[in-house]
């Protein structure tokens, strides 16, 4: 059977954002988060909201957590409003938290390859979390200045574009975006790829995270 591309399920790129909750007291059985998004300043329509149960967080008394999948673009724009509230089930009583609205904003990062060593560059990034093991990794494939056919994406480059890259004047600048809540910090590192070299032994992939600590940017 041949490929049937039009039947595949497609969706816009997303990123993962962790939300946490700490029980204010005993007796809470379950916490659920309801969330949706609008263009900046829009009013939430809860009819089509997403929902997720927050799973108890290991090693945290009363802590619960869930990773929301949020779009990278809403109506074509990288900045938008995220609306959410928690629905809390107690022993014999339920309660909804107030609705929280946060600004989701994007920040462009640029990697400059002065020597032309790489054919593509990715950014691995996550919101700076109180506990590093809770970090939610995301990936942004950058686009190189001058390569008009390239577009940023959520997965590493797998095309052989060595000759196209080489034809561009130095330095090569790769640009990609990271997302998060306005005012929050994002930690990132680079995925440095050289593919399609005339001598395949010169192809390489490495992860530069500044010796393990990464770099940070405030949104």
């Amino acid at each position: 059977m041949g490929p049937l591309p039009l039947n595949a399920v497609q969706s816009l790129p997303v990123f993962g954002l962790r939300k946490t909750w700490v029980d204010p007291g005993p007796g809470i059985a379950m916490v659920q988060i309801q969330y949706t998004w609008t263009p900046p300043g829009g009013t939430a329509d809860w009819a089509n909201a997403e929902e997720m149960v927050l799973a108890p967080k290991a090693g945290s008394a009363g802590g619960r957590t869930a990773v929301l999948e949020l779009p990278r673009f809403v109506e074509g724009a990288p900045d938008y409003s995220l609306h959410h509230f928690f629905f809390v089930v107690g022993g014999n009583d339920d309660a909804a938290s107030p609705v929280f609205t946060e600004d989701i904003v994007a920040r462009e990062l640029a990697y400059t390859d002065a020597a032309g060593r790489y054919t593509s560059v990715g950014v691995v990034w996550s919101a700076v979390d109180a506990s590093p093991e809770s970090a939610v990794p995301n990936y942004t494939r950058t686009a190189m200045d001058g390569l008009s056919f390239q577009s940023p994406g959520a997965a590493p480059e797998d095309a052989s574009i060595y000759e196209f890259v080489r034809a561009q004047p130095l330095p090569h600048v790769f640009r990609g975006m990271v997302w998060g809540v306005r005012g929050s910090e994002v930690r990132y590192g680079y995925h440095l790829i050289r593919q399609g070299s005339p001598n395949p032994a010169e192809d390489t992939e490495s992860w530069d995270d500044d010796g393990g600590s990464g770099w940070t940017v405030r949104l």
Partner: protein, 225 residues
């Protein structure tokens, strides 16, 4: 509405820097064109030895079958892992799983229940899902349908109106909803049942085969898909 599917990876060797999962869903018996587009997620590094990685995937309740012109709750989930190791990358074989569903019905003979959900998860309780249940006779356009409960701000009114509308339905009330998962997998499941009106009788609990209990835990039914 989505459901959640944990996909894990265990490092079998040293030097693994990142693991990604690439995946796409198609109608049953169809194959994707990976070049046309698909989803990609980076797995979270959970540490340990051997190192464990995990991503909880948000899965659709149904996919659109363009050949037949309707949405289908049974579909095929195609995926492979991309592994970055020692400065190069390799990919696993391509896997595919048939996603199927299981409908549940909870018969309430005395009309005590005013709110009920299936509380379920694939495999274990790592990624629980809530599926609000409804009697199929309940009006489809009602503002008091179960799916609208969470964002209905006047809960007292909702409880009252729902109980009145349910009271007009002949018993038993047959609450129904759906779970999904990969063919061959197990689902763990409880019911979250509530009697929310009148206020002085308000009561709710999670139910397993051994009776009321806390959510999750060992008191659950197991379904083999």
């Amino acid at each position: 509405m989505s459901w959640y599917y944990p996909k894990g990876w265990t490092d079998q060797d040293d030097g693994i820097e990142q693991v990604l999962i690439h995946y796409v869903c198609t109608p049953p018996n169809q194959w994707p064109d990976w070049g046309w587009g698909h989803e990609t997620r980076v797995l979270q590094d959970l540490g340990g030895f051997p190192r464990e990685r995990l991503k909880v995937l948000r899965m659709p309740r149904e996919v659109w079958d363009m050949d037949n012109g309707w949405p289908t709750p049974e579909y095929r989930f195609h995926y492979y892992f991309e592994v970055y190791q020692n400065g190069s990358r390799w990919t696993t074989d391509l896997f595919n799983e048939d996603i199927v569903y299981r409908d549940l019905e909870y018969a309430d003979r005395d009309g005590w229940v005013t709110n009920i959900c299936i509380y379920w998860s694939v495999g274990d309780w790592r990624a629980p899902v809530y599926s609000p249940m409804e009697d199929p006779r309940f009006p489809a356009d009602s503002e008091f349908r179960s799916t609208k409960y969470y964002s209905y701000w006047d809960k007292d009114r909702f409880h009252y109106e729902k109980s009145q509308m349910l009271g007009a339905l002949e018993r038993p009330h047959r609450w129904q909803s759906r779970m999904s998962g990969p063919l061959g997998a197990t689902l763990v499941q409880q019911y979250h049942v509530g009697h929310m009106y009148p206020p002085e009788e308000k009561s709710e609990t999670w139910l397993g085969p051994n009776g009321p209990s806390a959510p999750g835990g060992d008191n659950h039914w197991v379904h083999y898909l």
